[in-house]
Amino acid sequence: MFDGITLGQYYQTDSPLHRLDPRVKLVGTMAYIIALFIVKGWVGYFLAFLFLATMIALSHVPLRFVVRGMKAILIILLITVAFNVFLTPGKVLWSFGVLKVTKEGLVFAARMAVRLIFLIIGSSVMTLTTTPNQLTDGLESLMGPLKKIHVPVHEISMMMSIALRFIPILMEETDKIMKAQMARGADFESKHLMQKIRSMVPLLVPLFISAFRRANDLAMAMEARCYHGGEGRTRMKPLIYKGRDIFGYGVVAAFFAACIVLRVVGL
């Protein structure tokens, strides 16, 4: 029922990329995205492609799962490409009435498409190899310095990890309630808009009630274990850099530097 929502889903396996510290992966992904906008020439894009392909190979995630995230942005991608192809002024190659395809348009569209695809796949590789908990831990640690200016970093990351944790639960719950109401003859496949809206009530009311009940239970359980916010809280699995993480940073830095060099020399 929810086949489309796989962007940002963890794929359980053991790989060098899975074992990497989440902070390295976060910084690496950020650097990769920025690099995508630094490079201009085809050599640069080829380097970005090589980097991505190596990461996918290192992640041991089947390619099928890696490209699945593309489904969600396919429409956006097509629209972007179409706009760029038809609306960029320049040397006209073909024209159908008011629509003109220009050489610059084609180049620009191809570049946009490559950037978008690499960007989505790059972030998918990160979320496929990092559990939501590791991600928020990594973010909390990276944002640590912001605590000095009184940003509630711990609370934000706790809220994020709880929200992430609840998405699959609520999806399961939705499925269950939907089935229970269908067993009472509810029709969720109706084509009429009004009927469709009305048919949501028997789904949404129990869903909200259950979400509140779960939130309540969770708050209770956290309090019962003396949770009192981030102050003085220690971790069961503290994030500690190992040799491979330093190496990871090194690889990212080298890639980033190479991209800047390529841009400067105009390749």
Binding site: K176, K179, A180, Q181, M182, A183, G185, A186, D187, P202
Partner: protein, 285 residues
């Protein structure tokens, strides 16, 4: 009215690393008028199986036939089927949503397209069958106790006038008294309404007194399909898959081993008491 299951399998998350074979080549028939107990350890596939019976889940392979018609054939009206095969989910009280109990019970009949008067009539009748006192009918379902909510939810399915009523662990989370009340209510419904019952449970004690046929599920397979006496006499096998026979079976077995010549195919405490009293004085320890 009959339901026939022909060699069905079901795989969750097919084609991924997380795929689970929840049902493994199950075939059986559910004729009219039986009280069937479906028992199995946690995760054995009971809930998956019962969702096959009313067409909520489509089998990965195999067929489900209702009165000889394939339920997943194109053009088959599965909403009608769901009225005939009523399914009460685990924790059904979580599906309540209306402002008052009566309207909630009317939800099913309304979906069948019945008139307002008919809906109300069916709702009232269903609420009587589940023994929910009239004073609760215009209350918000969320102001009821857990046990009362569950009755209201069961009434919601009963109001569709099913000829087969399936209850998935209707006693989960209830105290012993609440449990007995629900089970007695189910038996009462079977006798009064002459409907077929499928009662899902992981406790043999729940189904022992009421069922006249017991299905034992293990790892997606139907391991036994027999009368309660025959099933319980294989209690060693039941234990191997994390189940157990009702406690009286063990008591009778023990007494026999210690030399009291009692029958061992006994299912309820009352029968056990009679049997033991009948052999009073025969034991010489």
């Amino acid at each position: 009215m009959s339901l026939k299951i022909d060699d069905i399998t079901y795989v969750y998350e097919k084609g991924t690393a997380m795929s689970v074979n929840a049902l493994d080549h199950i075939s059986l028939e559910i004729p009219d008028g039986q009280f069937i107990g479906l028992v199995g350890h946690t995760g054995s596939g009971k809930s998956t199986f019962v969702q096959m019976l009313n067409g909520l889940l489509a089998p990965t392979t195999g067929h489900v036939y209702w009165n000889g018609q394939d339920v997943h054939e194109k053009g088959f009206d599965r909403r009608k089927l769901r009225a005939s095969v009523g399914l009460v989910f685990q924790y059904p009280e979580h599906q309540l949503f209306e402002a008052d109990v009566l309207s909630d019970v009317e939800f099913g009949p309304k979906n069948l397209g019945l008139s307002e008067a008919e809906c109300k009539e069916r709702a009232v009748e269903a609420l009587r069958h589940v023994n929910l006192p009239e004073e609760f009918w215009d209350k918000s379902p969320f102001d009821l106790s857990g046990g009362q909510q569950r009755r209201a939810a069961i009434a919601g399915v009963l109001a569709m006038h099913p000829s087969i009523l399936i209850l998935d662990e209707p006693t989960a989370g209830l105290d012993p008294l609440g449990r007995d009340e629900i089970l007695n209510m189910v038996r009462g419904m079977k006798e009064k309404l002459r409907i077929t019952i499928v009662l899902v449970s992981h406790s043999m004690d729940d189904v022992a007194q009421y069922a006249d046929r017991i299905l034992v599920m293990n790892a997606g397979k139907i391991m036994m399909d027999d009368t309660p006496e025959k099933v319980f006499s294989r209690y060693k096998e039941l234990e191997a898959i994390g189940l157990s026979a009702p406690q009286v079976v063990y008591i009778m077995q023990y007494l026999k081993e210690r030399g009291l010549p009692v029958k061992t195919n006994i299912l309820t405490v009352d029968e056990a008491v009679d049997e033991i009293l009948a052999h009073r004085g025969e034991l010489n320890v």
